[in-house]
């Protein structure tokens, strides 16, 4: 990495850490912790991957990953995942059209918030099975299907829904939540720092010009988009784990029992050492995946599945251990450890469980492909 880029990332990271920590402090009691729309817009993060010509920053997935990592460190509802990660990510994979470009610009400016209707579960291997299909109804096209656990669905002004068209080609259908035949409903989950919802299409009429096509191979593009979603969650889990590891080390340094800081007990020291090792391994895997997926390198899917399966399983272990080492305090609502644990558990399932991603890796051994030639 060039030194310019490193400095840029350091700066982005420092600003994000400050902004997000401030937003968490502002959180009203009883309300889900969230980053308000103005602050998010002002941050410039929404347009990071939007081309400069469309008023974006023209940056890359690497910078988005920095923000995602920081958002894991300070979990809040923000709409960033729906709009900037999945929305912009989807749009950048589509054929450039005026409508697409307009929407990119509107996301960058914060004017429009987007949610993307993708499979959010264990569909990580084989042909993509989108949640929606387009049917011909005379001259019109109608949309049917239902995507569940869609990030930021209920706050979205615009919906981008991955579907198969009547020719079985993967396309993206642009819709409004208010369209007839569409229904958007929040799905309440234990993790209050995520906003997830279901988008049901019951024969919704698709407006003229709302079926958008991928610029490259649709199957590969859709899989890429889903890989991006999985990797975004891996970045988040890495951030969660890192923050909880640091919090645990800090707490163990000040909490005294038996006349000593608990951090001087070998059991606590060794548990923290294991946390660090696990976090460092995940960091490498996530970093590699961000690099490869950002460059459209072959084998990026493998790197994503490694990062997703490792980081999301690791985060549950590390945050769980953090709760344990915080003792009674860690089990209180007030300590906030629970929020990290709930998010880590949700992250583990969102966009493919560790097992599902390992199945994708394991498929290669069966296929007899030389595993090493990919390296």
């Amino acid at each position: 990495m060039s030194s310019d880029l490193t400095e840029l990332h350091d700066e982005l990271r420092a600003v994000a850490r400050e902004v997000l920590a401030a937003a968490r402090r502002r959180g009203a009691d009883g309300e889900p912790p969230s980053l308000d729309r103005q602050t998010l817009t002002a941050s410039g993060w929404l347009g990071l991957e939007v081309p400069e010509a469309l008023e974006g920053a023209g940056a890359t997935l690497a910078e988005v990953a920095v923000v995602l990592h920081e958002m894991g460190r300070a979990p809040l509802r923000s709409g960033y995942l729906g709009s900037a990660v999945l929305g912009v990510g989807a749009l950048n994979l589509l054929e450039p059209t005026g409508r697409r470009d307009d929407l990119l610009g509107q996301i960058a400016s914060g004017a429009v918030r987007v949610a993307v209707g993708l499979p959010t579960g264990d569909d990580v291997v084989g042909p993509v099975a989108p949640c929606y299909s387009l049917e011909e109804d005379g001259r019109r096209l109608r949309l049917r299907g239902r995507a569940a656990f869609v990030p930021d669905a209920t706050d979205a002004d615009r919906l981008l829904l991955l579907a198969r068209d009547p020719a079985s080609t993967l396309v993206v259908v642009a819709a409004q939540p208010t369209d007839a035949g569409l229904r958007v409903a929040e799905q309440r989950v234990l993790d209050l720092t995520r906003n997830l919802g279901e988008i049901a299409a019951e024969g919704a009429e698709v407006a003229e010009g709302s079926v958008w096509r991928f610029a490259a191979d649709p199957e590969a593009s859709a899989r890429r988009l889903m890989d991006r979603a999985a990797l975004a969650i891996a970045c988040d889990s890495l951030g969660l784990a890192e923050a909880m590891m640091e919090a645990t080390v800090a707490y163990a340094g000040v909490r005294h029992q038996f006349g000593r800081p608990i951090g001087s007990f070998q059991a606590v020291q060794h548990a923290c050492a294991d946390m660090l090792v696990q976090v460092m391994v995940s960091r490498e895997l996530v970093g590699t995946a961000v690099e490869l997926l950002g460059c459209e390198t072959p084998g990026s899917g493998r790197a994503v599945s490694m990062a997703k399966s490792h980081a999301c399983a690791m985060a549950v272990d590390v945050v769980g251990k953090a709760m344990q080492l915080h003792g009674g305090i860690g089990y209180t609502w007030e300590s906030g450890v629970h929020a990290y644990l709930k998010r880590a558990v949700l992250n583990r399932s969102l966009f493919g469980s560790p097992t599902a991603h390992r199945k994708r890796l394991g498929q290669r051994y069966l296929d007899g492909v030389s595993v090493l030639s990919e390296d």
Partner: protein, 397 residues
């Protein structure tokens, strides 16, 4: 082991089975989901009353006080209650176990006569041991009790008091000799929670519930007759009774893990996921399930052995720690796996039924709730140290 073989428990098993079939309320889990505190307390008291009438509420008490079942019969009772998924006695728990065993071991005749029948009548107790700076290191507690005439005046703060908001009485540890070495200046009191100066503030837990409270004690007067055991001898009383109840309650919890817990896990694995696949059709999942079934079988057998050893007086110095450690970590691993298998849908179960145990099928909540077993009552780290030092006689640090 020179005891005669226990009497055949099968006739008693048939009796309990029949009773469970006619008495365990159907659908109580749904009915107890999202209820108010009042409804919870009323349900618990009613269920306790039914068990009491059958002679099943305090089977471990001496016959004279209303118990008197043999260990073999107690094992059968808890096996059947678990097999029929009966509600748990969560509200009466401290009263019938900790309070009763303390009263029986160290109480005066008057104290027993005052409280044991009252407990059978529904008197609720809470344990006031932990403090903000005395968790794992309980002996460093600082709540102070100063003798003034016929009473002690108590000041301090207790933490992690389970069920304090419902309790009429509290088992209280407080320091009566500030000059003595840590464990030697502590006394054990029976505190009436309606006394002046007692304030209870619920603590919200990681699961969102508030089973625990802080108790603030501000110039609270406790009559000297409410001291239990000798002045400054409270630590020994507490140690002797702390693990006394472990045998049978752990057996109950192990049986519940083996019945409701494992059944729900099988159910979760049979439920098709978003892609229409059943986890159970994957040999990876079958392997994990078989591993859990094996571990639960080991836990249940260990608990049965421990219960029998309790009766014959052959309990090892860290047996209770072994069982607590193994149960709590198995519970944690199993609920973690349940949460993993349940997937995204598992996170939508945002409330669990009252009166249930640590496994309810709401996997994510159950997983988070499992820390309520690995932390309180001596963290897993403390248990390992106890096992090493007491059971294996390893040198102290």
């Amino acid at each position: 082991m020179t005891s005669p073989p226990p009497p055949d428990p099968e006739p008693f098993r048939a009796e309990v089975r029949e009773w469970c079939r006619t008495h365990v309320p159907t659908g109580w889990r749904d009915a107890q989901t999202g209820v108010s505190d009042e409804e919870f307390v009323s349900f618990q008291k009613q269920w306790f009353g039914e068990l009491r009438e059958a002679g099943y509420a305090v089977p471990h008490w001496p016959l004279a006080w209303g118990g008197g079942l043999s260990v073999g019969e107690q094992i059968v009772l808890y096996q059947e209650l678990a097999a029929h998924d009966a509600p748990r006695l969560v509200l009466a728990f401290v009263a019938i176990h900790h309070a009763a065993s303390t009263l029986l071991a160290a109480g005066t005749d008057e104290q027993r006569a005052r409280h044991l029948p009252a407990i059978l009548d529904g008197e609720i107790w809470v344990q006031g041991f932990s403090e903000p700076d005395a968790g794992s290191d309980l002996a460093s507690l600082r709540t102070a009790a100063r003798r003034e005439g016929d009473a002690y005046v108590v000041n301090g703060q207790k933490l992690w008091a389970s069920g304090a908001k419902y309790a009429g009485w509290c088992l209280l540890l407080a320091r009566t000799d500030p000059g003595a070495p840590k464990r030697h200046g502590i006394s054990y009191f029976l505190l009436d929670m309606r006394s002046q100066g007692v304030e209870v503030r619920p603590i919200r837990q990681a699961t969102g519930e508030s089973h625990f409270s802080e108790i603030f004690l501000n110039d609270v007067e406790i009559p000297a007759t409410h001291l239990i055991g000798p002045e400054n001898g409270g630590w020994q009383v507490a140690q002797a009774t702390l693990s006394a109840e472990r045998g049978m309650t752990m057996l109950e919890l192990a049986e519940r893990l083996g019945h409701a817990g494992f059944t729900w896990l099988l159910d979760a694995c049979r439920r098709p996921n978003a892609e229409g696949l059943r986890p159970i059709d994957d040999s990876l999942v079958l392997d994990r399930l078989a591993g859990f079934e094996t571990e639960i079988a080991g836990l249940r057998a260990m608990c049965r052995s421990l219960a029998v050893r309790h009766e014959t007086g052959h309990v090892g110095p860290a047996d209770a720690s072994v069982v607590k450690l193994y149960y709590s970590e198995l519970l944690q691993r199993m609920t973690n796996f349940g949460a993993d298998v349940a997937g995204l849908a598992g996170s939508t179960r945002i409330i669990k039924p009252m009166s249930s145990g640590w496994e309810s099928g709401a996997w994510v909540l159950d997983f988070i709730g499992s820390w309520e077993w690995t932390i309180p009552g001596g963290t897993s780290e403390i248990q390992r140290t106890i096992i090493a030092e007491r059971a294996l006689q390893m040198p102290r640090a």
